[in-house]
């Protein structure tokens, strides 16, 4: 019978808390850069100028069909050879997850924008708005509201994907767990506690997203899958 012993884990719990903070930091930064970039990719893909729309489509499909771990290794090990930058695990992680999630956000933006009735564009044009004005004032506000559930789901996926940064030695929660498991010789307790920490964090976020989704469904503006 296994004897569980959590003393070693909890005496170094601050290590795990630092990791948790770093996990949240990477997620937040990836969202901060990924969402606007996603909008740019989506608008480019919807553009009538073919070279632009093809390029955007290629980038989106490329980052959606290659594994995030391969992308991370590429940015960490390969990019510094191609261009002269000093790559740190932190930069590699932020760059990878910003671009990777932007590809997915782009598809969410595109779905949202395309779901808006054509009459809205025509209406905006009829009262003299330019493409840019109709987009900002009429289309996006409605599209964004419909996108919220998909957007939140993707953000939760992103939070889970950030565990990959531990493989390039960025001190996120997963990395700190590996570290602590080696130091304390108690992998069972360490990895169980860390799995629970992730569970609680992600469970809270998904429950919140379910609440928001219900709220949106009530106001009649939702794209429930």
């Amino acid at each position: 019978m296994v004897e569980w012993n959590f003393i070693a884990v909890f005496s170094d719990f601050d290590l795990l808390l630092i990791g948790l903070l770093n996990t949240l930091k990477i997620t937040a930064l990836a969202l901060l850069f990924g969402v606007p970039l996603g909008l740019v990719f989506a608008l480019s893909r919807l553009s009538k100028f073919l070279p632009l729309s093809f390029t955007a489509a290629f980038i989106i499909e490329f980052f959606r069909t290659t594994p995030p771990l391969v992308q991370l290794f590429w940015f960490f090990f390969a990019l510094p050879i191609l261009i002269d930058v000093r790559m740190t695990p932190f930069i590699a992680a932020v760059v990878t997850f910003s671009i990777q999630s932007s590809a997915f956000f782009a598809e969410i933006f595109r779905g949202g924008i395309q779901s808006i009735d054509k009459g809205q564009w025509e209406g905006a044009k009829a009262i003299g708005m330019s493409y840019r004005q109709s987009l900002i004032r009429i289309i996006l506000p409605q599209a964004v509201k419909r996108m919220i559930p998909a957007f939140m789901e993707r953000s939760i996926e992103l939070l889970k994907t950030t565990t990959l940064v531990s493989t390039v030695a960025y001190a996120d929660l997963m990395f700190q767990a590996n570290d602590l498991a080696q130091k304390t010789f108690r992998p069972l307790e360490v990895y169980t506690v860390v799995a629970l920490m992730y569970f609680v964090l992600i469970f809270v976020f998904s429950q919140m997203s379910i609440l928001v989704e219900k709220r949106l469904a009530q106001s009649g503006e939702s794209t429930v899958r």
Partner: protein, 221 residues
């Protein structure tokens, strides 16, 4: 800094990546089959009227959907053997992590599919004397599964990409082999570019295929 691309060492050692790709395909097949069929059973339990079935299924789904796959794989590799005394090799750890995760996600897909069927179908099944299990198997599931086919293929694509995580516990698959090549020949840029291209070439046609499938199914409905 300018870099001269040199794929010669990659092409010379193509069989290293080939072995990796075979490992990727093998673990993909095992996890996708286990994941999608196990998910069907859990999805049915999750929908079942009996709480003794639906609650454990719900707990399973929530636990495996709300923890990262990498954490699951690592847990099965390092923690599970201590708990059970079972020897876990990299392959088993990766298969357990990825297929249990896939079960949880596909269970929700199947459940959504079953829920999307009009109650009239159940009633019709009952009216001609079918039991719950018979209606489910003969009337509900065939239509439900057809409806969720695009979502299931998307899951399959995710699983194929997820298989790279097996490299973390040193299971021999494409990315793991690329690490080997990069270390041997000091050419991470070509090695990782090659892997990215391999995944793109394999998955891009599949993704396009799912778009076609979605359109065909929409027409048929």
């Amino acid at each position: 800094m300018s870099h001269t691309w040199d794929f010669a060492t990659i092409i010379q050692n193509w069989y290293v990546l080939w072995i990796g790709l075979k490992g990727t395909v093998f673990i993909f097949l095992v996890t996708v089959i286990l994941g999608l069929s196990g998910g069907l059973i859990i999805g049915i339990c999750r929908y079942a009227p009996s709480r003794a079935l639906s609650w454990p299924a719900m707990a399973f789904v929530e636990v495996f959907r709300n923890t990262p796959v990498l954490v699951q794989i690592i847990w099965f590799y390092y923690a599970f053997p201590i708990l059970t005394g079972i020897d876990v090799d990299p392959f088993l750890a990766a298969v357990l992590g990825i297929s249990l995760n896939t079960m949880a996600f596909s269970a929700e897909i199947y459940r959504a599919g079953i829920q999307s069927i009009e109650p009239g179908q159940w009633e019709a099944g009952k009216a001609i004397g079918m039991t719950y299990n018979q209606s489910l198997r003969r009337v509900i599931l065939p239509v439900a599964i057809k409806r969720v086919l695009p979502a299931l293929t998307n899951r399959g694509i995710e699983v194929f990409k997820m298989s790279t995580l097996a490299s973390v516990v040193a299971y021999v698959e494409t990315l793991n082999q690329a690490n080997l090549l990069a270390d041997l020949n000091f050419n991470p840029i070509e090695a990782y570019t090659a892997v990215a291209v391999i995944f793109f070439v394999v998955l891009y046609p599949v993704v396009q295929g799912t778009y076609v499938l979605e359109r065909v199914l929409k027409k048929g409905d």
